[in-house]
Amino acid sequence: MRTFPTAIRAAFASAVLVTGFLPAMRAQSHDDDIQALREQIRQLDQKLRVLERKQEIKDEDAAAAAKATPKITINDKGFTLASADGANAIKLRGLVQLDSRLFFNDGGLVNNAFVIRRARIITEGTFAKNYSFQLVPEFGGSSVSLVDANLGVALDQALQFKFGRFKSPVGLELLQSDSWTFFNERSIVTNLVPNRDLGVQASGEVWGGTVNYAAGVFGGVADGASTTNADFDNEKDVVARVFAAPFRSAAGSPLQGLSLGVSGSLGREKTASGRTAGYKTDGQQTFFTYAATTIADGQSWRVSPQADYRYGPLGVLGEYVLSTVNVRPSATGAKAELQNRAWQLAVGYVLTGENSSYAGVVPKTTFDFANGTWGAFEIVGRYSNLRIDDAAFPLYASISTNADEATAFGLGLNWYLSKAVRFSFDYYRTRFGFAPGAPAVSTAPVLRQDEQAFITRFQVAF
């Protein structure tokens, strides 16, 4: 058994030990804590750095993958599948135009109708950057047809070649896309220029894009006509066009948007059948056609000075066409050279302030009823005239069933719901003139009164 003094001694010794070593133990524990905390912080810092680095690697991999990944673009210009370097691409576009046609004061002569004016699936492609193709079938109208089918070789901005079927480079308004003309129907001037033809064309932009040119050799088609994919004679047309925007680089100048040009065609025709299916009014009614027995035989040529002007919301388009053709009333009849002329002046103004453009209006807002945005509105006006050579009557065309002149004016409103969607509301009035000696009342019912048509169109074009 321990004695009391011994117990006291032990307690005393313990007290001395505890009081002597406790601060040292506390300090040691404190250092350990700090060390542990430092290690914890180091580990957390490493974890954070690893996470950041993993994200960095992920971003680098994503960027590298993006460079090698084919691109899919879907926007209001169509659907595009392109290789990573952009050298190869397939583009799918479309155009659908649904019309309603309403005719006034014609005694019910012409049917008021709904029409699928155009319905096209446009396939375009580029291969190895410089080679391209375009294929445009038409499902609108009364039959399926091929509108465009051509191949392109681009050597340079200044020199590109196109082979196949495409628009012959003569008419200014005809060369404009069907989707973005001021009016839903082109003017009567278009009757005198060739439409789609088969041939080969060189074109390009020179002098910094201030001048563009096109020149080609084509099978040759009649006024307003398209090729049937077969050349109807052994002769060819040479077609050329120069169009310049001399002030294009003069930023801020009122003349910056002025373009002037001239185009023409020269060829020989020798056809076994009628020269043309007929010239049509804005309301798409035929007001002139050559006699069924009339054939083209000899030189034909066209010349067309043309101008386009854009200044902010204002757009103006004007062109004149003189078309000359040598015809015979039959294979053995007397030959005559006929000269038909047409001109137009069209004006548009975008009420909502967007820029007018040959390639359409891009509205600042898209029509969205819920959000109260309305797209863009444009008012348009046009005056045009087409005059047939009086010498055409009566030998080459019937004087009693044809007009020899059409004068048309139109007023319209375009509503751009988005870049791709447009409503247009156009009123057309066409007055007819007749050759000397024509009967007081034309035997063609549609020519007995002015044509008054109200044509609306709902269009999607991308």
């Binding site: 490493q46 750095r49 680095r53 993993k54 690697i57 991999d61």
Partner: protein, 333 residues
């Protein structure tokens, strides 16, 4: 007479113009850490070629993980020459795409490997984790940086060096070797696609305790970032790494660059080429140049791919093919 002289002079001038110096462009598709080596070498070769032929040659470089680079060439990258991390990647050009003949390694000395290297450890100054050998890399709490063997040639050398060490340590017991390698890769927090990416991870981003690195890349890190920041640790056993080179027959024939592409690789074996390799911390093949640079390299106990793994083709198939040993071990974790 005067006219005749003038005409002859004009013709001579025209002929001279036609025969004047050509400008040739080559593309060298290489692996990650050779950027600096080939910057030096390209300038030297351009001088040499100009002096020999009068032609200007411009060599463009492309760098990335060796396996990835080989894949790019197979997929159409128009490489005149490839200078890759290992023969297995160059073999792929012969096997899959038939861009080069199968016996391409016989076309140049030393099996088309004009310089060698090995695998070492780069640790932080003071070696805080006390890394001395491969055993230390599998310890808990040690963070190891190495690239992905699926895309990086250097990473494959790293993996095989570790495997060779473990094989010796465990007397060929494959189960234990696999456990060792699995534990090592469990300590790897980030797998970069190439060696240069791993250098960035370790050196610039401050991640990890040890970086398994090409010897030349480790020296470069010391040179670039100062010896005050890092130290090189040489393990007890490593592997003889033999980066290989080849001209790409299909491409050079198409481009008409066969002669210059071949000369470009042959010149790597010249005194100047070997000198540049040594200067950039690659081990030269030339005994004279190797002797000159011997002091900068440690003596390492080296295994070779042929003696331990039966060559690249076998090593590739067993370890790095999809579903191979590396996939089994890494995906398990």
């Amino acid at each position: 007479m005067k006219i005749k002289t003038l005409l002859c002079s004009a013709l001579a001038l025209a002929a001279g113009a036609v025969a004047s110096a050509k400008s040739i462009e080559l593309l060298n598709v290489s692996y990650d850490p050779t950027r600096e080596l080939y910057q030096d070498y390209n300038a030297a070769f351009a001088r040499y070629w100009k002096g020999r032929t009068g032609d200007d040659v411009v060599i463009k470089q492309s760098h990335g993980g060796s396996g990835k680079q080989a894949r790019s060439v197979i997929d159409g990258l128009q490489a005149d020459v490839v200078t890759l991390a290992l023969a297995g990647d160059v073999d792929a050009l012969a096997g899959i795409a038939k861009l080069i003949p199968v016996d391409w390694q016989k076309r140049l000395p030393n099996n088309s490997a004009p310089y060698t290297s090995t695998i070492v450890f780069l640790v932080r100054k003071g070696n805080p984790k006390g890394i001395k050998d491969w055993d230390d890399l599998v310890k808990s709490g040690v963070s190891v940086i190495t690239p992905n063997p699926k895309t990086s040639g250097g990473a494959r050398w790293n993996y095989l060096a570790a495997w060779g060490y473990a094989l010796r340590k465990f007397n060929g017991d494959e189960a234990q070797v696999k456990q060792f390698i699995g534990a090592l890769y469990q300590n790897v927090p980030v797998l970069d696609s190439g060696a240069r990416g791993s250098t960035t991870t370790f050196v610039q981003r401050g991640i990890g305790d040890v970086f398994i690195s090409w010897e030349n890349e480790a020296f470069l890190a010391l040179k670039e970032f100062g010896e005050g920041s890092f130290e090189i640790v040489v393990p007890s056993l490593s592997i003889l790494a033999e980066p290989t080179v080849a001209w790409v027959d299909k491409v050079v024939k198409k481009k008409g660059t066969e002669i210059v592409a071949r000369a470009y690789l042959e010149y790597l074996y010249s005194d100047e080429g070997q000198e540049i390799a040594g200067r950039n911390y690659y081990r030269p093949r030339s005994p004279q140049v190797a002797a000159k640079y011997a002091a900068q390299f440690s003596t390492v106990n080296l295994i070779t791919i042929d003696e331990v793994f039966g060559g690249w083709a076998k090593a590739q198939k067993v370890h790095f093919a999809d579903g191979g040993v590396f996939d089994q071990l890494y995906l398990k974790h």
